[in-house]
């Protein structure tokens, strides 16, 4: 049984009376990836913002200590922004970097939480940043202008930044939205591998349930600000998962199959609803 990394309890709050998250509780285990699924406006981004402590809320997020003997977890709500930055790193949907700067400088920003106000990244840190970029296949882009990169490369640079941050919890907001198919799978498998290797944890909101079923150890289903279901794609029986996913997508069928690596995979078929126009064919997402 894996240890718990993050325990989220009773998250409530939101934007006035119109929209609010209601009593969200779940846990993330070490070395695993948790996916957030839900329609637009179901509260995925709001939940992530609360986890990052960028939005006021009730309830607590408790991160377990790195040392095994530490009993008490760290309550994220009570940490200073510097401390929080060391523990949690965040990759936004689209990066907020709109001013051109060198790729290396972007990665070096990852050292911000450990550097003093006037301190500069040292030689070792520059090397570490360079290595992170090389590991992700961006060794040739170190001095390039970040803005000139493709979306897929930008996502990898931001991943390199979180690599040097060495944080315990990685939060990603719809990492699939700007990427094409190979980049989506490549990017997410790197993240999954990284999290497993470092025994950290990740939580990401996704639009594509196929992708979520493929990479996530746990899926949290959201609808109108509530948590309406929680599934573990690796172990839960298919009918149960179908019923849970059905709450947010309408009727779906899950098909069990194997890829070339013989690994068990799940394909999601979206079923036509009766009241839709009959001549549109079934949409199959693979």
């Amino acid at each position: 049984m894996k240890e718990t990394l993050l325990t989220v309890e009773g998250l409530c709050g939101g934007y006035g009376a119109h929209f609010a998250l209601k009593d969200i509780s779940f846990a993330i285990k070490k070395g695993t990836l948790t996916g957030l699924l839900g329609a637009n406006g179901s509260g995925k981004t709001t939940l992530l913002k609360m986890l990052c402590q960028q939005m006021k809320h009730e309830g607590t997020c408790v991160l377990s200590q790195k040392e095994a003997d530490a009993q008490e977890g760290l309550i994220l709500e009570q940490l200073s922004s510097r401390r929080l930055a060391r523990l949690v790193s965040y990759i936004p949907q689209r990066t907020g970097i709109t001013v051109s700067m060198a790729v290396l400088d972007v990665v070096l920003m990852g050292f911000q939480p450990v550097l003093g106000l006037l301190e500069r990244p040292g030689r070792a840190q520059r090397q570490q940043a360079q290595q992170a970029l090389e590991m992700l296949g961006l060794g040739a882009y170190v001095q390039r202008d970040f803005l000139s990169l493709s979306e897929g490369q930008k996502a990898l640079v931001l991943l390199a930044r979180t690599l040097v941050e060495d944080s315990r919890l990685l939060i990603l907001d719809e990492p699939d939205s700007a990427l094409d198919l190979p980049n989506r799978y490549g990017f997410l498998s790197r993240i999954a591998g990284l999290i497993k290797e470092r025994e950290s944890g990740g939580i990401l909101s996704l639009h594509d349930p196929q992708l979520a079923l493929h990479f996530c150890h746990q899926l949290i289903l959201m609808k109108e600000g509530r948590l309406v279901g929680r599934i573990c794609p690796e172990v839960d029986p298919l009918p149960e998962m179908e019923a849970a996913l059905g709450q947010i997508y309408g009727p779906v069928t899950l098909v069990e199959c194997a890829g070339r690596d013989k690994r068990r995979r799940l394909a999601l078929l979206w079923e036509q609803q009766k009241d839709l126009t009959p001549d549109r064919g079934q949409e199959e997402e693979r």
Binding site: K49, C52, Q54, S81, R82, L84, A85, R86, V88, S89, Y90, P92, T95, G96, I97, T98, V99, S100, M101, A102, D105, M109, G110, Q112, P113, L115, L117, L118, R120, A140, V142, Q143, R144, D145, L147, S148
Partner: protein
């Protein structure tokens, strides 16, 4: 590839430094009163006087002021994440103009008083804009821009009233002349305090370079990198604005240097790091020093320096823009 970039960077920096030195020396010996090195060394008292009370302070002010405006311009563009951001965004220039006009109107047109008035006016405008934005609930960089626009138009209104009240023969002319900007009236006694303030602000900016770079990132992302965005932005803007106010209070309004210099630097070295900050400052020095030399030698009368900063800077910027489209 990397070493090529490094050579290119150092090359441009070295060229800029040489040009600044060249402009500095040329500016010392250029002007209405013919001055040669021989006269100076020969101990000609008249020449010495011209040199030390007129040429030297003026040249120092042009080089230092240009550097300050250029470097501060880079900072504004980063912090507001807007390539068109300039000191005007936070209302500095109009505040300084109103302050200078008030001094001319209520005290006298004595240069030292006008400088003090402009400095206080500019500072008040910035503090008002930053204070307002700190009080507002959002605290985003949009709030600062809005507060700046409000303060800017407020200062413009005050300036208009002052102009209406001014005696059109003398005071109004002084106000207009100040607004057009000139290094004509720069003397040794006037530049001491402003240069110190300018230097202090620049030191803060260069030390906080890494923070400024992170401030150019979207707020939530920056905060999760561990920067207290609100406070840091306030500090950086205050430092940048101090630099601008200090310069402008001596020279009057100088247009375009803060906008053109950083862009020119970026286009030359095609990057936006610390070298761009340095080069932006140096380009500002060259631009202002060159413009000042033209302003005092083209016509029989002194011309406003802003005419030439734009006249020199704009075509060069356009050339750089056309040379190769965008970044690589």
């Amino acid at each position: 590839m990397d070493s090529y970039r490094r050579y290119k960077r150092t090359g441009w920096l070295a060229a800029a430094i040489l040009l600044v030195i060249g402009a500095f020396i040329l500016s010392l010996f250029l002007g209405k009163y013919p001055l040669g090195l021989a006269d100076l060394l020969a101990g000609d008292t008249q020449a010495g006087k011209v040199f030390f009370t007129l040429r030297l302070p003026r040249t120092i002010m042009a080089v230092a002021g240009g550097f300050g405006l250029g470097a501060a311009g880079w900072v504004y563009q980063m912090v507001f994440r807007n390539p068109l951001a300039a000191p005007d965004v936070v209302g500095v220039s109009s505040g300084a103009s109103a302050g200078a006009a008030a001094a001319i109107l209520f005290l006298s047109a004595a240069p030292a008083l006008v400088t003090a008035g402009a400095f206080i006016g500019g500072l008040l405008a910035v503090l008002l804009a930053l204070g307002l934005s700190a009080l507002a609930p959002g605290k985003g960089h949009g709030t600062i821009v809005l507060a700046g626009v409000a303060v800017h138009s407020l200062a413009q209104t005050v300036l208009m009233f002052l102009k209406l009240a001014a005696d059109p023969e003398k005071e109004l002319a002084s106000i207009e002349y100040w607004i057009m900007g000139s290094l004509n009236a720069v003397t040794l006694t006037k530049i001491g305090v402003p240069l110190l303030v300018c230097a202090a602000g620049l030191v803060v900016l260069f030390l906080l370079y890494r923070q400024i770079q992170i401030l150019s990132v979207e707020e939530g992302e920056a905060r999760l990198l561990g920067v207290s965005v609100g406070r840091m932005r306030l500090l950086v803007l205050l430092a940048a604005t101090l630099v601008v106010t200090a310069v402008v209070s001596v020279t009057g309004l100088i247009s375009f240097v803060g906008l053109l210099a950083p862009h020119t630097a970026r286009l030359l070295i095609r990057e936006n790091g610390k070298t761009a900050l340095w080069l932006g400052g140096l380009v500002g020095s060259i631009l202002l020093c060159g413009a000042d030399m033209l302003a005092r030698s083209v016509a029989a009368a002194e011309l406003p320096v802003s005419i030439f900063t734009s006249l020199l800077g704009a075509p060069f910027l356009i050339y750089l823009m056309m040379r190769r489209g965008g970044w690589e």
